[in-house]
């Protein structure tokens, strides 16, 4: 009998999976932090137009959205299929824009109020009439910084 155990015939040890949870947790935390749950339920359909001269929206807290588009199917009976405005969680009329802007301004820090940007998120098939009305309303309350939401594309539109 030998003094030592036989060394041969040893299978490669299984790779330890003990650190797998750690790795997965790391990924998990990453995604948890970058996830932004949808803030509002869109009740209107927005097919975004495409454009080349667009910039990323910085500083999300300074951007307030005005959504314009036709209502989704279940609201069609009540509101028709023409484009309407949605502010925050509810449908709105053009005349509601000014009070809404003021209310949103109140919620902001005083130092940031002048930096507020109104993002017009408009369905591409919408007619300009309602968009123009909204713009005029925004001018009245001096919310002059606007941005037209569009997807970035590299190819030309024609």
């Amino acid at each position: 009998m030998s003094k030592f155990r036989k060394k041969g015939n040893k299978a490669t040890p299984a790779i330890s999976t003990a650190s797998l949870p750690d790795i997965v947790f790391m990924l998990l935390f990453f995604f948890m932090t970058v996830t932004t749950m949808k803030e509002i339920d869109l009740k209107i359909v927005i097919k975004k137009p495409q454009a080349t001269e667009v910039k990323k929206l910085e500083n999300k807290s300074l951007v307030k959205y005005v959504n314009i588009g036709p209502p989704i199917a279940k609201f069609r009976k009540m509101y028709g299929s023409e484009s309407i405005i949605q502010l925050n969680d509810q449908f709105a009329k053009v005349r509601d824009i000014a009070p809404w802007v003021n209310a949103e301004r109140q919620k902001m820090d005083a130092s940031n109020r002048s930096k507020m940007t109104t993002a017009l998120k408009v369905n591409k098939e919408t007619k300009m009439g309602i968009v123009t009305d909204v713009k005029q309303e925004l001018r009245k309350v001096k919310a002059l910084k606007i941005t037209y939401i569009a997807d970035k594309t590299t190819k030309n539109n024609f």
Binding site: T17, A18, L20, P21, V24, F25, L27, L28, F31, M32, V34, T35, T36, M37, K38, P49, A51, T52, E53, V54, K55, K56, L57, V63, T117, A119, K121, V122, N123, K124, E125, T126, K127, M128, G129, V131, T132, K135, Q136, L138, R139, K140, K142, A143, L144, K145, I146, T147, Y148, I149, A150, D151, K152, N156, N157, F158
Partner: protein, 193 residues
Amino acid sequence: MARRALTEINAGSMADIAFLLLIFFLVTTTMSTNTGMQRKLPPPPEKDVKPPEVHARNVMAVLINKDNFIMVNSVPMQLNRITEKAKEFLANVNRREDLPVFENKEVPILGNVPVSKGIISLQTDRNTQYEKYLQVQNELMRAVAELRDARSMKEFGAHFDDLEGDRLDAISKAIPLAISEAEPRRSVKSKGK
């Protein structure tokens, strides 16, 4: 009582649980990077102040009618020619008589340089499609962006997008973003002109 050795909790399923959560967040994540075209609206018109007179040669009137046809200075035009036309108008390289006048203005770094007085006025009908409006707007913005980039290359040897501080200011002032979000026209009646 016999003492049983504490059995270790099997941590093998930990990974599964974590994976489950991970997949959930993966699916719900919408790395939402909204992009948009940034513009500035003109301040509201004051009651008694008349809008400043603008000489006809300084205006490029872009009109989109209810059927989404484009007219530039009363001439129908295809979308793909707008940028070129706008650049020609704003730059006025040969200082033509029918294109905008230049006026010397004080600009940071560059000093006293001629700045175009040209204004592009974009008007739409109430029934114009938003997408068309944005496309035309995009072409016009591109015209300005290309002019600025060219100027920036010439003056500083860098792309306009990479400029900062005074240099950015200089180019922005030398080539202003002169696209006017015009007053809407009560377009039902107004025809031609």
